[in-house]
């Protein structure tokens, strides 16, 4: 029993690396994992659920495909069965993911490209939101926007928010080393300087507000839809 429970924890840990691309939060803490079962022989069954029947199918596909990939990559896993439930496009998504077919093939005629560009767009938003998390305390401490723009990563005190920002910047291929500027253009990686800094910080705050408001609504909708907490879900106030 203990061995199986541990294995389940490892699977949940792995699923914790799968993020909702729009909300930039793990599917586990969001409550999107309704079932996670691991047999003694290493057969894994994961069921995912979303706040609404009509959540955008492209993001849903990414989450199901990513969940499949992280579980399949674990050692000692014999079979993987990941499926989305209660969603208008569940059948197409689940069949496509199980066949490792990709998005275009799964939605024949409805899509023209895989989802890499879409994913990049949302990691860029996560970088902006993370920039607000890191910079707001600096501004509150009295540094003006142009001053924030003169800082490098090494000038900022370590924090979980900074670590997260650097991980997102790395994902996008943006400079993330100690000498890199704290404020960079999310498209080009070029330093933001001078008068452009205030506008950049304004956009960062706006982007974070948008993501947080969506997350709040999604959590509320999920709670109405499902009485039971998800596997690995964190209760939010």
């Amino acid at each position: 029993m203990t061995a199986v429970a541990t294995e389940r924890d490892r699977v949940l840990d792995a699923l914790g690396a799968v993020r909702d691309p729009e909300l930039d939060e793990p599917i586990t803490t969001l409550g999107f994992v309704s079932t996670c079962v691991v047999s003694a022989a290493g057969d894994v069954v994961v069921r995912l659920r979303l706040p609404t029947y009509f959540c955008a199918p492209n993001f849903a596909f990414l989450m199901v495909a990513d969940a499949y990939d992280v579980v399949a990559a674990l050692p000692a896993v014999r079979s993987v069965d990941v499926a989305l439930e209660d969603h208008f496009a569940a059948a197409q998504i689940n069949a496509g993911v199980a066949l490792r077919a990709g998005f275009v093939a799964s939605f024949d005629g409805e899509a023209t490209a895989e989802l890499d560009e879409l994913r990049r767009t949302f990691v860029a938003k996560a970088v902006l939101a993370g920039t607000d998390q890191v910079c707001r305390p600096l501004v509150a401490s009295g540094i003006d926007p142009a001053g924030v723009a003169r800082l490098t990563i090494a000038d900022v005190p370590p924090s979980p928010e900074l670590d997260r920002l650097l991980r997102r910047r790395t994902e996008l291929g943006l400079p993330a080393g100690p000498d890199a500027p704290l404020l960079v253009d999310v498209g080009t990686g070029a330093a933001i300087a001078g008068a452009a800094a205030a506008r950049h910080l304004g956009l960062a705050r706006l982007t974070r507000t948008g993501i947080e408001a969506n997350t709040g609504i999604c959590r509320g909708m999920l709670k109405h839809r499902y009485a039971e907490s998800g596997a690995g879900e964190e209760e939010q106030g």
Binding site: T52, F54, R199, L201, G216, I217, G220, M221
Partner: protein
């Protein structure tokens, strides 16, 4: 009209519905979509104060009496603007059509504005239907739902050539206001369906039309705000912002309001209850009482005073729709010359 502390508010509910989503109206073979859609709407209602929640049965098929009581008798609304959404692939007679709305509205002269809709994939027949609706119901506005399914297509963008044909025709027919509601599907499906870049293009190319982005572009508030600062004819429709956040997530509500006041400004924000998702009464009462939390986090946002609330609750929409506002409900004096809240950050 709503009155509080001696101040009187002219209330225009600029986004509301009279739908039939009951099983009697579900298209055979598409029941799961019809059911999924209304259950999704019902989940939104759960974000309101508990005492205003309805059982799903009532929510699917509320009556004319319910609407008149909730919106006008109890809900302080002076004029309500019907925003139709058809969804005929899922609902046999449509979810909420121009005709169904008008059948109710025509019984109550002066209380409703009858907007219509179009779908650019409907070709010449759709253009003729648009003209008939404008002629018959006097529509000055249209509601567009870009994620509507139509004969195998999962949606459209405002920049599609056919959409431009329809926008030009609408303008020629005297339509002034385009209410845009984004949804989760468009073609191609690999693009972000909630992206508002197409509204940006259309607003530039049709400067005589006003574009009211419903739900302030949620879930893309940031893209919406950034666009709205640059387009003088783009407005923020507050349906879902007040209904979905003010009670359930008050701090996020304050932040979203702060961002909207900063980027868009109080002259370009319009109240809409999204009835029957949410009753207007608690939204109007709560909004008039609302203030930013006393916290440094909110200190930088523009303030919203009584005049601003009057504009958002009714006067802005009254201007968009040329509605007659009684003198006693106008702003007490001319607001000081264009206080420009919506400007880009500069230093």
């Amino acid at each position: 009209m709503y009155e509080k502390n001696g101040e009187k508010y002219f209330v225009v509910d600029s986004h509301m519905h009279f739908w039939n989503a009951g099983p009697d109206n579900w298209v055979p073979g598409a029941e799961q979509y019809a059911k999924g859609w209304i259950e999704c709407f019902h989940a939104y209602q759960s974000l309101a104060p508990k005492e205003t929640h309805w059982p799903i049965e009532k929510f699917m098929s509320y009556t004319e009496d319910d609407l008149m009581k909730d919106v006008f008798e109890d809900g302080y609304v002076d004029v309500a603007i019907f925003q139709p959404t058809y969804l005929k692939e899922w609902y046999t007679e449509g979810f909420n059509t121009t005709e169904k709305n008008a059948a109710l509205g025509e019984k109550h002269p002066g209380m409703f504005v009858h907007n219509t809709r179009f779908d650019p994939r409907d070709g010449d027949a759709g253009l003729e239907e648009l003209k008939r609706n404008v002629d018959r119901y006097g529509s000055r506005g249209v509601k567009l739902y870009t994620a509507e399914w139509n004969a195998g297509s999962r949606g459209y963008k405002l920049t599609d050539p056919a959409a431009y044909t329809y926008l030009a025709k609408a303008q020629e027919l005297g339509i002034k206001n385009i209410h845009v509601h984004k949804g989760p599907t468009i073609w191609p499906l690999d693009k972000d369906a909630f992206d508002v870049a197409d509204v940006d293009h259309a607003a530039t190319d049709f400067p005589e039309l006003n574009f009211i982005v419903e739900h302030v572009g949620l879930p893309r508030i940031e893209d919406f705000c950034f666009m709205a600062t640059q387009e003088p004819n783009v407005y923020a429709g507050l349906s879902v912002v007040i209904g979905g956040l003010m009670h359930a997530r008050p701090r996020f509500f304050a932040k979203v309001m702060g961002e909207l006041l900063f980027w868009v400004g109080e002259d370009k924000m319009t109240f809409g209850s999204d009835y029957g998702i949410w009753e207007p009464k608690w939204q109007i009462e709560g909004f008039v009482d609302w203030e930013f939390p006393d916290d440094p986090e909110f200190a930088d946002y523009p303030r919203l005073g009584i005049d601003g609330k009057k504009k958002i609750l009714g006067l802005n929409a009254a201007t968009l729709y040329d509605l007659k506002v009684p003198d006693e409900l106008q702003l007490k004096e001319e607001a000081p010359a264009a206080q420009d809240d919506s400007k880009l950050v500069s230093s």
